[in-house]
């Protein structure tokens, strides 16, 4: 008997691939690049690709930090499943968050912005690292950035925004996370079918006409309201108008495509349960890789689990978690260690899938900068020192060929943010990142060649 779920997964990805083949979006092709594949043939910097991989509830530093430093680092207990791909992962230990309070760390860790939070509401300046980078390398893709997630087991039922999603343009605009593989596929490729029946074709034309008119109308209405709004609401309305324009951009892209994408119903039926996590993680990482490979976006946030997540995982046939609650129950250290190890298995799986995609002489992972991190270090004490930081991929030749374990000896985590921005954006990178005590223009020099550092 066939495994229907497996079948749907394959079907889903094949459909995605079909869209790609139809020429809807194109990656940088081999003939456009120089011999090593690290720049365009005319010497121009290749646009980088960036992915933030985030998981909630930190690590257990004693089991996380590799025993040896430098190039020949050995995988730790937590990173056991990264062995096969460790040559593409730089581990940075000894980084501290530049903010004194524990609940602001989630903001400082991702944006370099010192929180001014009271009562779990961090009012921070500046965008998260993925959005900083998307503003530079995300302008010429159908989606400026894509934010997806595997587990939506939010802490405190999502009461505190900085904990729900790690991608934001400002403290007032958080990017919603897509958790449904089916909806994600639809968002990436739409229903780009071209009916042959003239009647159906006419209907489709009507639909597109209506969609365009509707968006024009909504934009006009939004514009008419602008004069009556206060400053902060103007920004909110502006964000709304930007969202409407993004839809317009996609309609135009789909209209000009000749692909045959149909969203399989099965892809939308996955429930949010601990049992379905492996399947969801598999699908989401497949689609994430496809989005980056096809140039649908250059910037992708994969939030495996939200900050302080109440995630449950089935490991060795036993349900472990809820993750956050477990961090506050004495005697559950072994469970915590297994949960972190399992999350890192998914991180390794994500990287391996990127490595398997060949683009000319390179792999997708060679072009990528993948930044893996969490909101704190040791969760039991809300520790914000010795934070977990993984910087993986080749960054189009900007990151070291031979990965290292670097002990940053108490440096600010903002340095890691600056490093990944430089690695992903090259010459176009901003000169500094963060605000207040989190602001820096320094990088982790050991991870960047002289050219960009």
């Amino acid at each position: 008997m066939k495994n229907p779920t497996h079948n749907s997964r394959r079907q889903l990805i094949q459909k995605a691939a079909a869209c790609f083949v139809s020429g809807l979006y194109l990656p940088s092709m081999n003939f456009m690049l120089n011999e090593s594949g690290t720049a365009f043939a005319n010497g121009q910097d290749l646009p980088g690709k960036f992915s933030l991989f985030f998981w909630g509830n930190g690590i257990s530093p004693a089991r996380w930090v590799p025993a040896t430093e430098g190039a020949n680092w050995q995988v730790s207990h937590s990173l056991k499943h990264c062995e096969d791909i460790k040559h593409r992962i730089n581990v940075v230990s000894g980084l501290n968050v530049p903010t004194p309070t524990s609940h602001d760390a989630v903001v400082a860790m991702i944006s370099g912005s010192q929180g001014e939070g009271t009562h779990l509401v961090s009012k921070h300046q500046g965008p998260s690292i993925d959005q900083e980078i998307a503003a530079i390398i995300g302008q010429n893709t159908p989606l400026k950035s894509l934010e997806i997630g595997v587990s939506d087991d939010l802490w405190a039922n999502g009461a505190f925004v900085p904990y729900n999603g790690v991608s934001y343009t400002s403290s007032g605009q958080y990017n919603a996370i897509e958790y449904s593989p089916g909806a994600l596929l639809k968002r990436m490729f739409g229903n780009a079918s071209s009916p042959e029946n003239p009647l159906e074709l006419e209907k489709q034309k009507q639909r597109i006409l209506l969609q365009k008119s509707l968006l024009d109308y909504s934009l006009k209405e939004a514009n008419s309201l602008m004069g009556f709004l206060g400053q902060s609401d103007k920004l909110r309305m502006q964000a709304h108008m930007d969202g409407l324009r993004d839809i317009e951009k996609k309609i135009l892209a789909f209209e000009s495509s000749s692909g045959t994408c149909n969203v399989p119903e099965e892809g939308q039926g996955l429930s949010m349960t601990p049992e379905s996590i492996p399947q969801r993680a598999d699908l989401m990482t497949d689609l994430a890789v496809k989005a980056l490979e096809c140039g649908i976006t250059n910037v992708l946030t994969l939030q495996f689990s939200p900050a302080a997540a109440e995630l449950e995982l089935i490991i060795d046939g036993i349900k472990r978690g809820p993750h956050h609650a477990t961090t506050h129950i004495p005697g559950k250290e072994e469970d915590l260690a297994l949960i972190i190890q399992e999350i890192m298995r998914y991180f390794a799986m994500y990287l391996k899938k990127m490595d398997a995609v060949k683009i000319g002489n390179q792999s997708l992972l060679d072009q990528m900068v993948v930044y893996g991190t969490s909101e704190l270090s040791q969760p039991e004490i809300h520790s914000n020192v010795n934070m977990p930081v993984l910087i993986a991929g080749g960054g189009n030749g900007r990151l070291p060929e031979q990965s290292v374990h670097l002990n940053a000896k108490g440096a600010s985590t903002s340095k890691a943010l600056m490093t990944v921005m430089k690695a992903a954006c090259g010459e176009k990178s901003k000169e500094s990142i963060g605000h207040g005590t989190g602001k820096t223009s320094d990088v982790l020099k050991e991870l960047l060649p002289v050219k960009t550092a």
Binding site: L215, Y217, F228
Partner: protein, 597 residues
């Protein structure tokens, strides 16, 4: 000469003006609307059209006015508009002056409001929540988040797709399309029906009369659909549901004028503010009509409308929305739970809480103290076993909890104890935190980073009380935990599922003797009785309702017992309905703070 109604008009604009001029003539004739009906019928037009309700703004005594005059007056807030009348001197002599003002902000419509609006206008139940990105919370309150956060591209895309889906659902099952359009769209192709549908629907969806230009745009887009009339109407609904005027509450805003600190709300804006606070949905036809003709500006009529709304079954929607946010009740709505038994139990416990609140504070209008002390509750076959009882029916039955259950009030509900637990473990800290923050309005700071949590070496596993008492040995933990742990520990007689117990999981007796707020308590009910009698609980509850009504948390807002609002509430017997009436009849409820623009 309304006979021209029947003639075919090639352009919409001509048609529109003719339609309006006929209608206005009818309104301004001595026979008013009746004559309009007569003319329509006698002219041989579609009889159904004449039976459709007209948009409220056009019922508002618009004698002799052109469409432009009517729409501009409403859309631009013209001063000659009766809805703009200054009402500050017309308040009832016993109106209480609040010390807070609403801000001139633009809240987004909530998921629940979206559903209620569609239900109220079209009579169709929809599920919006599961199809949109979550509404983020600010300070734990979704309604505050609605005013603060921008929508992301993904969220906007979901609204866009949802509009088409909801329009389709409405046109598949609504019985009210005929009422709104005046004809059967399956049998007719009369464009007048489309126009009437758009006018009637836009006024309700946008909560305000619309400008001519705006209406024309919707009509033109819909007319470009070459399919049948139903399709055109369906398309027009999708267009309207996508408009920012539907997605955001824009009433109350205005051009920034440095010289003006506060702005009086127009009667339409008052109607909306009242309706969304009390009913969590759009104003009904009666309220809209009073807003349109300016009568809502009369204090006697305004107060009588408030009484009508407080007596309406729809009041439950508004009140339950507040309590859902106040007590974080949506934690019991677990869509993804695969264990059907757990899902059913949580759902039953949520229903119990909602029925308890509705019965106590809406139907019975009891003193708010009873929210903490009432022994009444509602059980069915699924929830009864949690309380050591049995029931054979899925229908809920009102009961008075026996003394053996040792529980009362909202914190005696098993659902609340489940919300305030960590999975299988009870959390006295969470339970006490709710009491300190939500019942006593104490502000607790963030937990410190890198706190020392080294446990002392002991041979025996510590009880939860012993474990939590360690917080008091650490200076960095003590300040907050002393306000959370003791009031939470008295609820240790309830396990993580909310069941009564006398021993903990290791079969040790539970010690609920605590000192809190300088007093000794040895049982949850002692603490609840103390809180119920305290002024601090009542003033805190009033503050929570005020914050919710104004739409933001105002740390300067005082609700101590010397404040007029508290004195008046005491006179009225501390009932929730009376508190709401005090708030919504205050002159300040009808103003907004323009400095917030």
């Amino acid at each position: 000469m309304c006979i021209i109604w029947e003639k075919p008009y090639k352009t919409f604009n001509i048609f529109f003006y003719v339609f309006l001029s006929c209608f206005i003539q009818a309104c301004s004739s001595p026979e008013g609307l009746d004559s309009y009906h007569h003319i329509k019928t006698s002219s041989g037009g579609d009889k159904n059209i004449s039976q459709a309700p007209e948009p409220t703004s056009f019922n508002s005594g618009a004698n002799g006015k052109t469409l432009s005059e009517i729409t501009q007056n409403h859309a631009t807030g013209g001063k000659s508009d009766p809805t703009q009348r200054n009402i500050s001197e017309k308040n009832s002599p016993d109106s209480v002056v609040l010390n807070g003002l609403s801000l001139a902000t633009m809240p987004k419509i909530s998921h629940a409001q979206y559903e209620f609006v569609i239900e109220d206008i079209f009579g169709v139940s929809t599920n919006v929540r599961s199809r949109l990105s979550r509404d983020e919370k600010l300070e734990g309150f979704p309604s505050l988040g609605l005013r603060h956060f921008s929508l992301s591209s993904l969220a906007i895309e979901k609204y866009y797709h949802l509009a088409f889906e909801i329009s389709n659902e409405v046109f598949s099952s609504s019985k009210k399309i005929k009422d709104l359009s005046g004809c059967d769209c399956k049998a007719s192709s009369d464009n007048a029906c489309l126009i009437r549908f758009i006018m009637n629907t836009s006024e309700k969806l946008f909560r305000n009369p619309q400008s001519e230009e705006s209406l024309n745009s919707v009509i033109n887009i819909s007319q470009n659909i070459t399919e049948n009339l139903c399709n055109k109407m369906e398309a027009s609904l999708a267009v309207m549901l996508n408009s920012p005027k539907f997605i955001y509450h824009t009433a109350g805003q205005g051009q920034k004028d440095e010289s003006v600190e506060t702005k009086e709300l127009t009667s339409f804006e008052q109607a909306n503010k009242l309706s969304f606070l009390l009913w969590n949905s759009v104003p009904d036809d009666k309220l809209l009509k009073l807003a349109a003709n300016g009568d809502l500006n009369r204090q006697d009529i305004y107060e009588s409308e408030v009484d009508r709304m407080l007596g309406s079954p729809k009041l439950k929607r508004g009140i339950l929305q507040f309590f859902e946010e106040y007590l974080d009740l949506d934690q019991l709505k677990i869509e993804t739970q695969t264990d059907l038994k757990i899902k059913e139990e949580k759902s039953a416990l949520l229903t119990e809480i909602n029925m308890f609140i509705s019965f106590l504070l809406v139907n019975s209008d009891k003193n708010i103290s009873e929210f903490l002390t009432s022994k009444e509750t509602f059980v069915n076959k699924i929830s009864a076993p949690v309380y050591g009882m049995t029931s054979n029916s899925l229908n809920f039955e009102k009961i008075s909890l026996p003394d053996s259950q040792q529980r009362m009030g909202i914190l005696g509900k098993a659902g609340m104890m489940q919300i305030l637990s960590h999975g299988e473990e009870t959390s006295p800290t969470q339970r006490g935190k709710l009491i300190s923050e939500q019942f006593l309005c104490k502000k607790l700071p963030q937990p410190p980073a890198n706190a020392d949590i080294t446990l002392p070496e002991t041979e025996d596993e510590l009880t939860k009380k012993e474990l939590l008492e360690l917080h008091t040995t650490s200076e960095s933990c003590k300040g907050c935990h002393i306000q959370m742990d003791p009031p939470g520990l008295v609820f240790e007689i309830f396990d993580s599922k909310g069941r009564i117990r006398s021993q903990d999981t290791l079969e040790r007796p539970i010690d609920t003797n605590v000192t809190y707020d300088g007093r000794d308590f040895n049982h949850a009910n002692e603490l609840l009785n103390y809180l119920a009698q305290s002024d601090d609980f009542k003033s805190c509850f009033a503050k929570k309702i005020l914050d919710y009504s104004l739409g933001y948390i105002d740390d300067q807002l005082k609700t101590d017992m010397n404040q007029p609002v508290m004195k008046r509430w005491k006179e009225k017997g501390y009932t929730l309905k009376s508190l709401l009436k005090i708030i919504v009849t205050s002159p300040k409820f009808k103003k907004i703070d323009m400095n917030s623009l």
